[in-house]
Symmetry: C2
Subunit: 372 residues, 2 copies
Amino acid sequence: MPEVTDEHVARATWSRLAEPGDVMTQVVLRTVGTVESLEWLRTASDVPPALIERVERWRQRLELVDISRELKVARHVGAHIVIPGDPEWPTALDDLGDEAPVALWVRGEIPPLDRAVALVGARAATRYGERVAADFAVGSIDRGIAVVSGGAYGIDAAAHRGALSGECADGATVAVLAGGVDRLYPAGNETLLHRIIQTGAVISELPPAAAPTRHRFLARNRLIAAMANATVVVEASFRSGARSTANHASRLLRPVGAVPGPVTSAQSAGCHAMMREGQATPVTTPDELAELIDSAGATPIAEPLVASGPLDDLPEDQARVFDALPARAAATIPSIASAAGLTESEVRGALGLLELAGKVRRSEHRWGRVRP
Amino acid sequence: MPEVTDEHVARATWSRLAEPGDVMTQVVLRTVGTVESLEWLRTASDVPPALIERVERWRQRLELVDISRELKVARHVGAHIVIPGDPEWPTALDDLGDEAPVALWVRGEIPPLDRAVALVGARAATRYGERVAADFAVGSIDRGIAVVSGGAYGIDAAAHRGALSGECADGATVAVLAGGVDRLYPAGNETLLHRIIQTGAVISELPPAAAPTRHRFLARNRLIAAMANATVVVEASFRSGARSTANHASRLLRPVGAVPGPVTSAQSAGCHAMMREGQATPVTTPDELAELIDSAGATPIAEPLVASGPLDDLPEDQARVFDALPARAAATIPSIASAAGLTESEVRGALGLLELAGKVRRSEHRWGRVRP
């Protein structure tokens, strides 16, 4: 079990306070300092307007947290916490920038992920899809490629199972859960998840006892995409959640593959749509999967989102507000609202966040861009 | 039955003399004149060296041809001849330039092909492939899109059958055969081909009694591709002949679609390969097929091959020789051979053909380009 430092404790605490993927958490950690941030949270009186609501919520939760007890509970289920800088930390997660998780709760041990594929797909998979998922997982392991997935029924389970049955390696596979790792969810996969813990890892950015909500499932997908060199969608209906994982991969400039299937199968319609839209390359064999993984290094590596252009990593509202600001002058909230097509209250909220991120500056009643 | 002019007779004769797709036939017709070309063939003594062998062969065949008897035989099986300029001539064939057929032998009547799809694929089709081919053909006919195919077993037959079962139109479908239209080949499709003749057409560029050879099957594919706005490959193994039709379509800058199928099916491997190579768009519904057809007009229309740049329509050897010629000066055969990486004899052959096509000129022992 690695040493637990103040930074581990602070990040463990934050994983209890913040919702997954909330960029403001990372902004605070970066701006105030990781260890200092909790003291700041308890005592700060000069909270920026855009943060007031969040700070309220964080403070309420903080009062309820007994972090040494939490860590004890975690140890009890065999979980440990992994943070940036730890040897076990998947550095690929850093490409998420301010959307990176503050910490990971881990059962088992995260295997090396320098060559990893995210094999994802529909819960309501067909036998064809499950067979292909398992075959591709076996083929990945045999080629030294780790298999990352979501531990769900259907394609995920078939991929994990295939990875565990691979012959050449220890079946390096990682299941990323949307809730705490103490609950091996879904219950029907409990045995499978226990087997994954033996040779790979079951991980979550949420602390033990956290419930998997819809928002957390969607946020979880970004970790699956970020931890792999490429994402391959084995089966997905038009509106499948697996496509959100593919979208995260695309946003990270990681290659996306999709497995063709019968055009008569609704479970392949999402895969075909991604191919038609040019988002996904057809992948039909483990060799083609390996090719996709190895092409990932050949394409321009995704810059950390925080370091990219002023608009690239902003949520929709903030991007529209920033875009509506004159390049060199300053504007009033009503005129920004009119240019951005948003209400004044939406503009006020977005400006607060942009100010906190150092992207805009207020002068009297006017707002302008901060020049890079 | 349309009027049979001297030009019809001349082209009918040439269809007996020349092998499909031999560009030199069109060069002769264009250079000497269609009607005059047969007299020239009988009497010419100044045949360019590059043509001597061909002219020999043509003359031998010409001696055996009794064209009025041929036309009578054709009429007997209900076939008539269609040539460029006839209302029934598919003008899309003109995009083939010097590779266009000299004439078409037709049973039935060629329907309007302003919106047409080439639905092609493996003879050894699966039930899945045949079902999709039939569904797509029905969907095409229902959307006013004619179906062109090769009359073969498997995908071709399923496509024709689907077209004939369409509800909204007369089932406008055209089968392009590799041999004479008097023999409805393959025999197992005779009933189907008879039905096609009732509402569409069975056609060939070869005259009655001509045997379908391997070369003729491959040459036939260019007609299928050229007569349709887009080619959709329903099933094809890696080495399927259907891919040659797709290649002809690509060469004509016509869109190519391919139907995804199970990655476990060898009969879909060619389709997936074309998608991976970026040659084909996945097509999963008749609506997507119609989209592909209508996108054909949106892309730059293929120029007739003969009118394009000096190199575009040349066979490999000639292109290399032309490329090796200095832009403004003239060169000797040894120096051209060295620049082109060909033997002197290969260069001599290619120069003869290029001279005939008016692309190069000789002056003493040196050869140079003819400026456009």
